[in-house]
Symmetry: C2
Subunit: 338 residues, 2 copies
């Protein structure tokens, strides 16, 4: 466990794309009736003993749907075709099965830390369960058939979210991204699409799904994530002791000062400040041990998640005040300040 | 006293310009010998019983001279003619008499708060004492003769330093400055010469020295200072309760967060942050009662004053670290934080 405590390996996501044999891909479905039939077929495999809830996208409020989207349990694409789509989500919200997204099935599992094997086992069990009641579109040569050819074969996307402040600050992230791309993997900033990732957050995932095995994909992503963690770790040592130590400490401590005192805090500013507070904690400047608590805080403070906590539809201005108050006392608490 | 506790009336300065009869103005002195003769003549009126110290400008280090300048005890002009100039400064540093500045004598008294009468009495006593041993250049028609005609007559400059955050933030300071100018008084930002005063600090002083009595000058400056204070006070009430309350609170609290947590702090940034912290204290957002302590802190944290406290010549980088540490713990202390 201690290996994972430096906050670098934030979370793991495994996603499988599947389609039903004998039905057109979702974009070509013949109206609502056929879409509902697919939803029924898939969800019929789940009974009351399973801890899954079926959400029809046209049966929940805009509010609920957006909160699910913020938590990455459903995708924007699923929301766009609300009349035709649904999602099965389990109780601890680690697994969601989107129905009639780009493919008939998008099965995903998200776990904290770097746990590709565990996430793959978990989603494979769900995949197997669904496969017992329906027949997947499968080709001996091409493997699982998908709406978009980039998902053919395994239908597997394995992703790891990483917190890479030191590599970002010293600029070496660019070179790192280039060399990872040459391995056939993709790295992108999680927040915003600029060259420098906001919040120092990056997602590494496989590009290729065809002609490789699930094990090969998972091993490769796992290996790259571990490599990135060790590069980041070395860079952090340099930040801690090098000539930029004071500058970085100042940046982190100012972020801590603002986040624990502000009266108004936007979602975007929270991402940036929380990242510097987390860096300060990782470097030992700020006495916060469980740095993953900061990641969870950022998730909980997204707009629709705040509405959910507050129990009502707050205006953006009200949310910024709610966020400032909540974040300020939460960070003070975990830092052991009064 | 309670009248002065809102931090608006920062300090009072009275300055008298005088010259000796029978000697050319300092700019036209015949060499060092004549300059030293004037210094001797003036200082001879002071004996060991007086709590004044005579500083020859060419007898003190660059370091000491700059610290005196930072504390407004000597002027940049006095430093420029170091070989010819001197200053008599009393123990509590409220009074300084500059010798061979633009005039042979520039006698000034600086007191905290709005205390024009007290400052004038104090400097008049010194002026009378000096006048007993030497003869001032005086003309029945023109009054005291000075190197620059703008000081003729009374030779008196009465100034008040004011902290006007609310009038600055709501922008009405511009109109206020215009109307004060029409009364023949000058208002200018204390830090920087931009349109918006850094640190919300302004100095009001008389423009005219000729054809008016000392009492008239002092009464007018006093009246304008009190008027400004009441305008500022009304504006603060509006800030506290109006729709900009949250925005102002956020600004002040962020300044407090940064000032109490930063690891590096420049002199210029301290002025800006301290002003917002002071505003926050004045509006009741930050639990600091003695807001004048913040003004004193800014003075003490000027570069040469820091060298003086540290007892050695710090580099600018070292000073910024020293300042951050000192200011952070000082502000926390007076705010009752740990």
């Amino acid at each position: 466990m201690s290996e994972l405590d430096d906050g670098t390996l934030v979370s793991t996501r495994i996603r499988l794309a599947r389609n039903l044999e004998g039905y057109p891909f979702p974009a070509h479905l013949k109206g609502e009736k056929q879409a509902k039939e697919i939803i029924r077929l898939i969800s019929s495999g789940f009974n009351r003993l399973d801890d899954f809830v079926l959400y029809y996208m046209d049966g929940i409020s805009e509010w609920e749907a957006n909160a699910l989207k913020e938590n990455h349990l459903i995708s924007p694409a699923l929301m766009e075709r609300r009349r035709l789509s649904a999602a099965l989500i389990n109780e601890d919200r680690s697994v969601s099965v989107m129905i009639n997204e780009e493919d008939h099935l998008r099965e995903q599992c998200i776990l904290g830390g770097l746990r590709l094997d565990a996430a793959y086992r978990k989603i494979s069990a769900i995949d197997g369960k669904i496969g017992r009641s329906i027949k997947f579109a499968y080709d001996e040569q091409l493997g699982y058939l998908t709406a978009c050819p980039t998902n053919l074969g395994t239908g597997l996307r394995a992703s790891v979210m990483l917190f890479l402040p030191a590599l970002t600050i010293n600029g070496s992230i660019r070179e790192v991204v280039r060399s990872i791309s040459r391995l056939g993997l993709t790295v992108r900033g999680v927040y915003g699409e600029g060259s420098e990732a906001e919040g120092y957050m990056y997602q590494v995932s496989n590009e290729v799904t065809l002609g490789v095995s699930e094990d090969e994909i998972i091993s490769q992503v796992d290996e790259v994530a571990r490599k990135l963690r060790s590069l980041e770790s070395a860079e952090r040592q340099r930040l801690k002791s090098g000539k930029s130590r004071l500058e970085v400490m100042d940046k982190c401590m100012r972020a801590y000062g603002v986040i624990t005192n502000c009266a108004v805090l936007s979602s975007g500013e929270l991402i940036a400040l929380a990242a510097d507070v987390k860096l300060g904690a990782c470097l030992g400047f700020i006495p916060i041990r469980e740095v993953s608590a900061i990641d969870e805080l950022v998730m909980r403070m997204r707009p629709y998640n705040i509405n959910l906590s507050a129990g009502r539809d707050l205006s953006p201005g009200e949310r910024d005040v709610y966020r400032a108050e909540f974040v300020s006392s939460y960070i003070k608490k975990i830092a052991g300040a009064r």
